[in-house]
Assembly symmetry: C2
């Protein structure tokens, strides 16, 4: 490709409104342009990268035995009524009406449509297992789209759906897809980790997220330093401390704490170690609880894990924090003065809290705390559960090593759905006994557009993107210096360009009338892995200068060996 015939669109200035580096670099390197909030046009350079990802995903899906189909973007609302998601899915589901006033949605995902297809087409266990996939445009009406294509409204996803007679078969395909996902991210040259994930409100048996590691990631992911255990923050279990409960050394006393409404204030004003404080959070109770509200308690230096809390049978899902008004009405004190002593609602404490002694907590009287509280002596031990987020250094739940926390960008998610959709939509087949049986389902997503951004977050420097070979929009850029003043430079450049094309190398030939500095800056900004620089001075020596984008290494190669050198890299 000649730059003069291409749509390069690089920007010298940092674009305003781009909060993360991948968004900045995608705009500056001319990969995307914003059309409206959360809607982006892919320019040629961006699209070339996107197609590379799609190609790898296609190959690995087919290797995993998945068959490609293509379902419509616009989906009938009645299928979503049938699955129950018409009501449950929030305003991210863009509901539309056609000219006949019939309900449709712009598909954010395709469980309903694929289940509708399979229940009509598949009637016998002999046709199973079946794994169908597509790479397709999706729409999610994000309330606040941001970070460019990392969290856009329209995006491209690879979504696959597998159908099975048994959970064993589902497990097998799940494992095959897990391995396919690992191969995809490996082939794309990304540093990634699969982590255990929570199945959330959907239920089902197993779920893994695939994260590209990057400091700017939105998610915390948790690893053991002593095994291959990895989970996302929602899922990572915080073990109970193994120490025995210590014996009391202090009397419980009521203390005036008029200016301590937070743990931080309490610790500061009363010289109390934060590990000796308890934080109380009040949430709406489930129907199972004999109460309107439930109190959740974690150690002062810990944070509540809302997903874990939501899974507790006494807690209403989705999790809903009580308002100050509700709290005052039921407990008689404000949220800044709550604690376990004399609390008139059910209490669930975190495993760590259960091992605390001589600790301080609100007295359920405004402006007062109890210090020196001890379980069993001062009050009975309440229900204990894993309620908190793990912290770095916690023992790994696998029993080996300690936990580390890194930041990740979620680019894939695989899920054993079980019969959630197939049951709601009555997707059955005849089993070996000739009886009707509800199908088991798995679903497997990859955020294809998002991978582009994640790869950049992981591969850049102050001058621009540094593409892994497998993702680079071009493998090689040929930069002739001041070609319009030198026929010799131009001749060699044209000659090398033709050789590169003949060798099947994806090459950008920068034939613009620009200063060398502009060309070098653009090449580094776009992140093309290999550069050949052609200049009068090096031609005098019969050589071309080669430069590597990643290492910055410069080598002189003989003109006649230049393309062979690129091929050897």
């Amino acid at each position: 490709m000649r730059s003069s015939k291409y749509l390069l669109c690089t920007l010298k200035e940092d674009p305003s409104n781009a909060e993360v580096i991948s968004h900045q670099l995608m705009l500056r390197s001319g990969m995307i342009r914003k059309l409206a909030s959360g809607l982006y046009t892919w320019l040629p350079t961006g699209l070339r990268v996107l197609h590379k990802i799609e190609q790898v995903v296609h190959e690995e899906m087919q290797r995993a035995g998945a068959i490609e189909i293509s379902m419509p973007v616009v989906q009938p609302g009645d299928l979503w009524q049938e699955s129950g998601r018409w009501e449950k899915y929030g305003p991210e589901l863009l509901r539309i009406k056609d000219r006949h006033n019939r309900d449709f949605v712009l598909g954010p995902t395709h469980e309903e449509v694929v289940t509708e297809l399979v229940r009509k087409e598949i009637s016998s266990y002999k046709q199973l297992p079946l794994n169908l996939y597509q790479i397709q445009t999706k729409f999610r009406d994000e309330v606040r789209p941001r970070f460019g294509i990392m969290r856009s409204r329209e995006f491209i996803m690879k979504d696959a759906y597998s159908f099975h007679l048994s959970n064993e078969s589902l497990n097998e395909t799940y494992q095959v897809m897990f391995e396919a996902y690992c191969r995809i991210f490996e082939r794309l040259g990304l540093e990634f980790r699969p982590v255990l994930a929570d199945n959330g409100s959907i239920g089902g048996n197993a779920s893994h997220e695939f994260h590209v590691l990057a400091k700017s990631g939105e998610d915390d992911i948790v690893f053991s330093d002593g095994s291959d255990y990895a989970a996302n923050m929602e899922k990572a279990e915080a073990l109970a401390p193994t120490d025995e409960l210590e014996s009391p050394t202090q009397q419980m006393q009521l203390v005036d704490t008029p200016n301590a409404k937070t743990i931080e204030q309490l610790v500061e004003q009363f010289n109390l170690p934060i590990e000796k404080t308890v934080k109380t959070l009040v949430v709406v109770a489930s129907e199972e609880a004999d109460s309107e509200l439930v109190a959740l308690m974690v150690r002062g230096d810990h944070t509540l894990n809302e997903i874990k809390a939501e899974h507790h049978p006494l807690v209403a899902a989705p999790l809903q924090f009580a308002s100050e008004e509700q709290i005052r009405q039921v407990i008689g004190a404000g949220p800044g003065s709550l604690g376990p002593v004399n609390l008139p609602i059910p209490v669930i404490i975190d495993r760590s809290v259960a091992k605390m002694s001589d600790f301080g907590a609100g007295a359920n009287i405004d402006g007062k705390h109890y210090f020196g509280i001890n379980w069993l002596r001062d009050l009975p031990l309440p229900q204990v559960a894993d309620l908190r987020n793990v912290v770095a250094g916690d023992p790994s739940p696998c029993g080996h090593g300690h936990l580390q926390i890194k930041r990740g960008i979620e680019v894939g998610h695989i899920f054993q759905l079980g019969d959630v959709y197939s049951k709601a939509m009555n997707a059955t087949v005849l089993n070996e006994q000739g009886k009707s049986q509800v199908l088991s389902m798995g679903c497997y997503g990859i955020g294809v557009t998002r991978i582009v951004a994640a790869a950049i977050e992981q591969n850049h420097d102050e001058r621009g993107i540094i593409w892994p070979e497998s993702l680079a929009p071009f493998k090689l850029i040929i930069i002739p210096m001041n070609m319009h003043k030198s026929h010799r430079v131009q001749d060699v450049a044209e000659q090398l360009y033709q050789q590169a094309l003949d060798a099947g190398i994806e090459v950008l030939y920068d034939d613009r009338k620009e200063r060398p500095g502009v060309m070098f800056a653009d090449a580094e900004l776009i992140g093309i892995p290999h550069t050949l620089v052609i200049g009068e001075r090096s031609l005098d020596k019969g050589v071309i200068e080669y430069k590597s984008r990643r290492t910055g290494e410069k080598v002189e190669v003989a003109i006649e060996n230049a393309i062979a050198h690129i091929q050897s890299l």
Copy 2:
């Protein structure tokens, strides 16, 4: 691909509600399934064909110098306001609101979005010409979707848009794209014709449609048998008869025709040759006419060409036929009794009508006609224009040969838009003199999904589809007969399947436990060009039976030569 691991989905029965053969065969051969009115899921077999078309289109677009981009499906309404199409485009434009109540549309086409991109990114004539294309999902909310994917609501289109400083440059790119389109349809193995088309209300300089010839086509296309002139019916010019106006031989007389309200009744009841009758159609006048209505007249055996009528300066665009009430109010007679004599509104007659003598027409009095009317003697000659559709046998407007009419399916349309969008949206660049200049634009569409249906309309027999090699979902199908009773058949089948895969042949291996008859029927229905049949009897002779789908020809080939035979075809 093994059938047992594939989603074959063939149907034995003819599906109801499929009016055209391509729709029937696409359903029966398992290429598509209907999700809702005008919305189809592409099953694996259909998608394989679709991808072949996309690949050829990509290659030829790139060869033509077009650069690929990808614009969003969801487009901001304000761009459509700016171009004026928010108002003009009918209910086929699906207008939607996002969660913030902002206006968007589901893109049926992308002139607005691409013009927005180019006006922001391109500032100098040096960056021109520029030709951008995409292959993308579009949505058109058809009032009555039908014929399967031939007229669906969601469909895939290749749309390209070119930008120029001058009309000369536009002409050049237009010619390059014209040739690229011809190559695409040639490579796809389709019998097609590019035809001159009308630019319609958009204006501009030139336009061609590309039609796949098929008896079931919705459009009439017109050819000369003496030159390469071809046009669609809207555009094809009907020349004026070269004969002199004949002298009157009859007196004009008023005749009672109480039971003749149509030309057919008049001809039948009064033994009048139909070429001696005139049909009068009354339409709303343009502002230019000094009248509310205008009368258009064509010979009794001709039909009005509405596009030609609409282009006449005295006729309002879009064309609107007057109601019977309007006609009675202005003329004082009903639509069945109209004619040129004593008509109180402006009259435009077709070129053929101007050469008529001794003819009959309504008297503008209910139940009465004049017979023996002659121009000049009985009334002055009104305005003359080309108003009718051509008929087979008309002289070609190119001056060579006569016209023939065939049916076609429109699969492509290229268009010189000129400055229609760029002017409305103020898309300018600085020209060589440093002055701001409005861009010239071309647009170029191909109905990618529609090509699939058109190819089937042109290539089928009573047993199913007959794919051209370039479009076939598989090149080869291997059919083992009663393999589950014969290890030898199974061994040879597996061996040939492996050989075919190794040779890079796209092969379907029908390893289902089905009767041979079912397998043969499916193979012919799906339309795979080449079949290898493996049976005990032929194996005894050391041969395999080869069968061609298109010719039906059967050949016995030695087992060891079977795959080489397929490769040689």
